[in-house]
């Protein structure tokens, strides 16, 4: 696509007319602040930025883009880790940061209705006085937006028990890529028709922009109990996890860190994890007090049986927060032990953990690239942190190789190239390792139904540009059943 300066100026004028000049950014210096999201290795300065206040303005921006044939990309807080909100050089970046109204907290419906720019944690804060919260808790929940969560189908540490964004969003208003406003789902369950709500969540901004989000509010648990267990090896910690799952316990969270990840966390936030641990496990149970008490004793026993050398039980919320502090800071913390690093996100069947960890260890040794491991051990979602120094010749390339090889391992074990960070621009090239051309073509049928012109977040998710083409013409002849009076034409 070639876009001239005149085209951009005309589009800027159209946007200013539609939503007001103060909501349109065209100054090069200001545009530069939006050049990347949470994955800073990709940078593109958008042609324009629009900051709509509401759904009507958002739709007006999209319609202006459609009229100009210009691509658009939605951005919430810009915390995404796959480059899903990477701008398009010839397009408009639609930023939802002015759409931050909590429209309604409806405890009697167990729902909240919010604008897409509302911060994930703000929903839980608003619902807290009613004894409720919003369950999905990505690590960035203090800054990430619910609109971004919808685009990415975000998970979090507690999704083992509670599920992902797709299980907690019951309704959306979206602006489709042709600028129409459509409601999908609602406050009631099981809206008749295709589950376009389910298809939209996790589509990474390629099917339109969510402008209003209705979420489920979960009852705050009566009891929460958390333990931290230290093991000499990740195999022991993995075996303890297996024992917990095999006993039919479904913890709210089971998180594991290996020695390198622990040392990084210690250096960064002084979380005081047991010295000499080759692995720590954080296990959290929540629910009705009698259930939690019964199962917590079991979990403790499984950790001991699998040779935990130290078990700490959080006495209060403050101590629980300390356990979690090390885990939640782990990504940023590796910055203390390595100048550069890649945060990887892959999934394996949980039972393959020991073998996959060994293979990651081999890869690390072969290529001379350190890998710190942090994972949601309950559901097999790995976050290997691949450490390197870009200043050392060849290290960045080797780190990329190791990072890619880890994804291959995940696929080979029947897993996934992404559990929660999304495909975005970063992993589009890996998608064909999981899916055939026919699979991707079939997914693309959905995209074509929503966005035949390909204006919504182009270049993301799909590895190669795919065109939609015309819908094949229906057969025009009279069908035998019609002739026989058995059916009528549609």
């Amino acid at each position: 696509m070639s876009t001239t300066t005149t085209d951009i100026e005309a589009l800027a004028a159209a946007l200013r007319a539609a939503i007001g000049a103060e909501r349109v950014i065209s100054d090069r210096q200001e545009l530069r602040t939006y050049e990347c999201d949470g994955l800073a290795q990709y940078k593109v300065v958008p042609a324009l930025v629009a900051l709509p206040d509401d759904a009507a303005q958002c739709a007006a921006v999209v319609r202006a883009c459609v009229a100009a044939g210009a691509p658009f990309v939605a951005r919430g807080s810009g915390t995404g880790l796959s480059g899903g909100a990477l701008p398009h050089a010839d397009g408009v970046l639609i930023v939802t940061s002015r759409m931050r109204e909590i429209i309604e907290i409806a405890p009697e419906d167990e729902r909240a209705v919010v604008q897409p720019g509302v911060i994930n944690l703000a929903i839980s804060r608003a619902a807290h006085p009613h004894g409720r919260y919003y369950a999905p808790d990505p690590s960035s929940q203090q800054i990430c937006s619910i609109g971004g969560n919808v685009a990415e189908n975000s998970g979090g540490a507690h999704c083992l028990k509670y599920g992902f964004t797709t299980h907690h969003v019951t309704g959306l208003e979206v602006v489709t890529p042709d600028g129409e406003r459509v409601r999908l789902g609602g406050r009631a369950p099981d809206t008749p028709g295709y589950d376009l709500l389910g298809a939209f969540i996790g589509s990474e901004g390629t099917l339109g922009i969510a402008t209003e989000v209705t979420v489920r509010l979960t009852r705050l648990p009566e009891s929460v109990r958390t333990l931290l267990a230290a093991f000499e090896t990740t195999d022991q910690a993995g075996a303890a996890t297996s024992a917990i799952i095999a006993a039919g316990v479904v913890p709210a969270a089971v998180e594991m860190m290996d020695a390198l990840a622990i040392s990084a966390a210690e250096a960064a936030v002084h979380c005081g994890y047991p010295a000499g641990a080759g692995a720590v496990l954080i296990v959290e149970l929540d629910g009705p007090a009698p259930e939690v008490d019964a199962q917590f004793a079991q979990v403790e026993a499984f950790c001991r049986d699998n040779r935990a050398f130290e078990i700490r039980i959080a006495a209060d919320d403050a101590e629980r927060a300390l356990f979690w502090k090390g885990r939640k800071s782990a990504f940023a913390a590796v910055g203390r032990i390595s100048p550069d690093y890649i945060v990887q996100d892959g999934v394996i069947p949980r039972t393959a953990l020991p073998e996959v960890l060994r293979r990651i260890g081999d890869l690390s040794a072969e290529r001379g690239i350190r890998v710190a491991n942090v994972f949601h051990a309950g559901d097999g979602n790995l976050h290997p942190l691949v450490l390197f120094d870009a200043a050392v010749e060849g290290q960045a390339e080797r780190a990329e190789e190791v990072s890619g090889a880890i994804l291959d391992l995940c696929v080979r074990h029947g897993g996934s190239i992404t559990g929660e960070h999304g495909v975005g621009v970063d992993k589009a090239k890996f998608l064909p390792r999981m899916f055939t051309d026919d699979d991707l073509d079939t997914m693309h049928l959905l995209r074509c139904a929503f966005d035949p012109a390909g204006l919504a977040n182009p270049g993301k998710v799909f590895p190669t540009p795919r065109l939609c083409g015309e819908i094949p013409r229906r057969r025009t002849g009279v069908h035998p059943a019609q002739q026989a009076g058995l059916a009528e034409a549609f």
């Binding site: 797709t166 008749p192 028709g193 389910g198 009705p288 009698p290 495909v423 079939t442 959905l446 549609f490």
Partner: protein, 415 residues
């Protein structure tokens, strides 16, 4: 093309599991011409490719328990019977997942998984139903309050498109955001977008203990009040059901699952909460999870935001209002109710009831869908009612099935 040549072509594509249809194969009075019962995805793909070449309209049939749900097909040539496409492909107990073929019966699957003390946490409201049928209609029963519906438990699908192309989406790990979630799209699509041949599901452990805590209520309004009390407490029920028969007292039942000690304590708490005359049992009450109608009756599904459930129960559940013997049963803790009316009921009155139920559910943010009904009722009502986003849904259908050959007309808006 003469009928026998079509049969030859289908057989050439797929081998012997293709036969002429009989009278029993008619769907809601619409006769079929052929029945194909492929044994695997490759064979199913061959059948659907041949059907595309021959411009045959295809309806998928599993256990046939919900074949009458939705409108009859506008056109029907070939029934694709999934009963031979059965069996558990994989059960990874340590990973709490299974991959099963679509024609597998839910009860057969349950027996297999129970060996590892695990379950696919879906109730089967109609005995004999298959995995594919549960997915196609996205039906679940009382335990959906905790576990959700098929769309929530489905983690991957193998799909054969209308043109015979085989496609996969999702996978066999629970946590996975790679590619579009087409499993959501085909769940509840009534077979109008493609044939699901295999489905991967998240599993749950079987609970060590269960308790059904039940109490009678004078009427629908009291049942609603009791249900609201349970929702406000810290019981974390697996199910919260109400049953309102045409005459006599209503019932509220709470299902609790967990450890033996935990369930005993919670059952005590529930008993105190619900008050006098509460019973606790380890087996479900009569009719638990069954749809409140029989073949030939009218069956409705009513949904509402939770705050609207009491009024909906009061308005629709007041039997004398419509002078109809209406049975109401459903998941008050979720906002889904089912209503049954005898097939012999006056169709004009049934149509009037559907209209007033539609107004009541719309006021509560929900919908009324007529899942099944005798012919005279179907003639008088739009089974699906108004649907948001219909234009987008039509566009999805056009992309997946441009010739409208998969169960044409069965679904919303004549899709």
């Amino acid at each position: 093309m003469p009928a026998d040549r079509v049969l030859d072509r289908l057989r050439a594509a797929a081998g012997d599991p293709v036969r002429q249809a009989g009278e029993d194969d008619a769907i809601a009075g619409v006769p079929a011409r052929y029945v194909a019962a492929p044994r695997d995805t490759a064979q199913a793909a061959a059948v659907l490719r041949a059907a595309a070449d021959l411009d045959l309209a295809v309806t998928v049939r599993g256990g046939g328990t919900r074949q009458d749900w939705g409108n009859p097909p506008r056109r029907l040539d070939l029934i694709l019977d999934t009963t031979a496409l059965a069996g558990v492909v994989e059960h990874a107990a340590g990973d709490l997942i299974t991959v099963v073929r679509a024609g597998t019966r839910l009860d057969t699957l349950a027996a297999t998984l129970a060996g590892a003390r695990q379950q696919l946490a879906l109730d089967a409201p109609l005995p004999g139903g298959t995995v594919g049928g549960a997915v196609a209609t996205n039906t679940a029963g009382p335990r959906r309050m905790l576990y959700g519906t098929p769309r929530d438990l489905l983690i991957g699908v193998t799909l054969v498109r209308a043109d015979g192309v085989v496609a996969h989406a999702g996978g066999k790990v629970v946590k996975n955001v790679a590619g579009y979630d087409l499993a959501k799209l085909v769940a509840g699509a009534y077979g109008t977008l493609g044939l699901v041949t295999e489905a991967a599901f998240r599993l749950h452990p079987l609970p060590a203990a269960v308790a059904y805590v039940s109490r009678g209520a004078d009427d629908a309004a009291e049942a609603a009040r009791l249900a609201a009390t349970v929702r406000a407490a810290q019981l974390v029920p697996t199910a919260l059901e109400v049953a309102v028969p045409p005459a006599g007292p209503a019932t509220v039942t709470v299902l609790l699952e967990g450890t033996p000690a935990g369930v005993a304590a919670r059952a005590d708490a529930a008993r105190r909460l619900l008050g006098a005359d509460t019973t606790v049992a380890d087996r479900p009450p009569d009719g638990w999870g069954r749809l409140p109608w029989r073949t030939g009756d009218t069956g409705l599904k009513l949904t509402a935001a939770l705050s609207g459930v009491p009024r909906l129960l009061a308005e629709v559940g007041a039997a004398d209002r419509h002078d109809l013997p209406l049975t109401l049963r459903g998941s008050a803790g979720v906002g889904v109710l089912y209503a049954g009316l005898p097939g012999t009921a006056d169709p004009e009155r049934v149509a009037a009831l559907v209209e007033s139920a539609r107004a009541a559910t719309a006021a509560a943010g929900g919908h009324t869908v007529v899942l099944t009904a005798p012919g005279p009722v179907r003639d008088r009502v739009d089974l699906w009612g108004p649907v948001d986003g219909l234009a987008l849904m039509r566009r999805v259908k056009q992309r997946f099935d441009p010739d409208a050959r998969l169960a044409p007309g069965r679904f919303v808006g004549g899709i």
